[in-house]
């Protein structure tokens, strides 16, 4: 295993989706969230954050995994930001109005 990479367990909050991934240390939290959305077809109209099970904190969106304190063997969870109520407009719908 290279010092330039991290091997992690990535999963959703409800544990319905999970994967073992090896990523470069300079991979950003935002990139990993976007990759999760894409791979797991998560709803586009919800915002997500990433939390570290070991650190007990949410990771900064613009931080690289290495500088955010993530280490090999960590479990990271993709957590939705819950809003309730009315769903804001989708960009395509908005252009139609």
């Amino acid at each position: 295993m290279s010092d330039d990479t991290l091997t992690l367990t990535l999963r959703t909050l409800d544990k319905s989706r999970h994967a073992q991934v090896t990523l470069p240390v300079d991979y950003t939290v935002e990139e990993l969230i976007e990759a999760s959305r894409h791979n797991w077809a998560l709803p586009r109209d919800t915002d997500y954050v990433l939390r570290s099970e070991r650190l007990g904190r949410q990771l900064g969106a613009r931080d690289a995994l290495g500088s955010a304190g993530v280490a090999t063997g960590d479990i990271l969870e993709v957590v939705p930001l819950l809003e309730a109520g009315t769903r804001p407009l989708d960009a395509r719908t908005a252009h139609g109005r």
Partner: protein
């Protein structure tokens, strides 16, 4: 048997509360709290606050009750359909706890909730349904120097976060590129709000009830200054299937521009209906910063200008269409009223400034001025409870 041992416990509504060692019913009676949003979650929070005996509740919501609200909103009935949520919720609070002072503000957070009211509140409960409303409340609360709790619901999960001017991350510190994109989509190129017409997010009375209970539990801890609850900048997430509870520290953004409390001293002036920008400026040149965007005119490319004075957040894209030719009119707005503007002599209330708002007077002697109003006593020394005890 001595007289001292003779009590009438049934006469004491809060007898069971008084058996709790840390509970202070008098503190709750003096407390002023704001419930921002009177939907499913706001109903639960308001109900619980009334049951525990909070003295003053200000309930804010611009919306009306729809049939689909009835399966999640404990305070609403069939007979209330079409009524303002804030007004019906306030009536229900008074039914639950007749001694409560329940004040309804059937309006928009962005322009109808006076900053001074938030400043005098001990705590704000954010029971909102969009990032736009959360942005607005976050700015208001941090500027006013008041803690706020943010509740969010899903189908089988819920979240409660605490944000405070005393430290930690705030809501705006969490903004992602995706949130910013969705925030921008809410407004047209001319800066006018588009109506939300998309279907609602599925939620049930169950998550609303649990989230409302946790928010009030957290609120009681804040009001009593009781340790063990959330620290500022922490968010609790409760997953109901499978059961799991996590508390995370949120990353603070050192460049976040939402932080910064209005500094003391803050002067007092008459209510917005009785004072104008010119009155506040006196004989000095300068401007009055309203703290929100005021549309002062709509410019039609064919029919010319229509003067007006309306907060930008109240002006919809549909209302900006010219009633004569149907063209989209461009709004002209300002945040500051100078002495040379015609509006300077009009009462601030006519410009949409709410009771108890705080405006900034920019001139040779810059200062913040809190306007009086009908909700709080005109005496600034209202008795705050909990966290703010002893502040004023």
């Amino acid at each position: 048997m001595s007289d001292a041992a003779f009590t009438l416990p049934d006469r004491d509504r809060f007898a069971r509360h008084r058996q709790i060692s840390w509970w202070n019913q008098d503190l709750l009676a003096r407390a002023v709290v704001i419930v921002a949003g009177c939907g499913a979650l706001g109903n639960e929070v308001a109900k619980n606050l009334a049951l525990v005996g909070v003295g003053t509740l200000v309930l804010v919501d611009f919306d009306r009750i729809e049939r689909s609200n009835l399966v999640r909103s404990a305070l609403f009935t069939e007979a209330d359909i079409g009524q303002m949520k804030a007004s019906v919720a306030a009536e229900a609070v008074r039914r639950i706890y007749p001694a409560a002072r329940a004040i309804a503000i059937a309006g928009d957070l962005a322009c109808d909730l006076g900053l001074g009211l938030v400043r005098h509140a001990d705590l704000v409960f954010g029971c909102l349904d969009s990032i736009h409303a959360r942005f607005a409340l976050n700015r208001l609360a941090l500027r006013a120097g008041t803690d706020w709790l943010d509740g969010g619901l899903g189908v089988d999960a819920l979240q409660v976060a605490l944000y405070s001017p005393s430290g930690g991350a705030c809501y705006e510190c969490q903004v992602t590129a995706e949130m910013a994109r969705r925030f921008a989509n809410r407004y047209s190129c001319a800066g006018l709000a588009r109506p939300d017409q998309a279907p609602g997010v599925p939620t049930t009375a169950v998550t609303a009830s649990v989230a409302g209970a946790l928010m009030v539990e957290e609120g009681l801890a804040r009001l009593h200054q009781r340790p063990g609850g959330l620290a500022p900048g922490q968010r609790l997430t409760l997953q109901l299937a499978p059961y799991r509870l996590t508390v995370d520290e949120l990353p603070a953004d050192p460049d976040c521009c939402a932080h910064g409390v209005i500094p003391d001293p803050i002067e007092r002036a008459a209510a917005p209906g009785r004072v104008s920008a010119r009155d506040l400026l006196g004989s000095q040149p300068g401007e009055v910063d309203l703290g929100f965007d005021l549309v002062v005119g709509l410019d039609c490319p064919r029919c010319g200008r229509t003067p007006m004075a309306i907060p930008r957040s109240r002006l919809t894209r549909a209302a900006a269409l010219c009633p004569i030719c149907g063209s989209e009119r461009a709004p002209d707005w300002t945040r500051r009223i100078g002495d040379e503007i015609l509006l300077a002599g009009r009462p601030l209330g006519d410009l949409g400034v709410p009771d108890h708002h705080i405006v900034e007077v920019l001139g040779s002697r810059p200062r913040f001025v809190e306007l009086d109003g009908a909700i709080l006593p005109e005496d600034p020394a209202i008795a705050p409870a909990g966290r703010k005890e002893g502040r004023s």
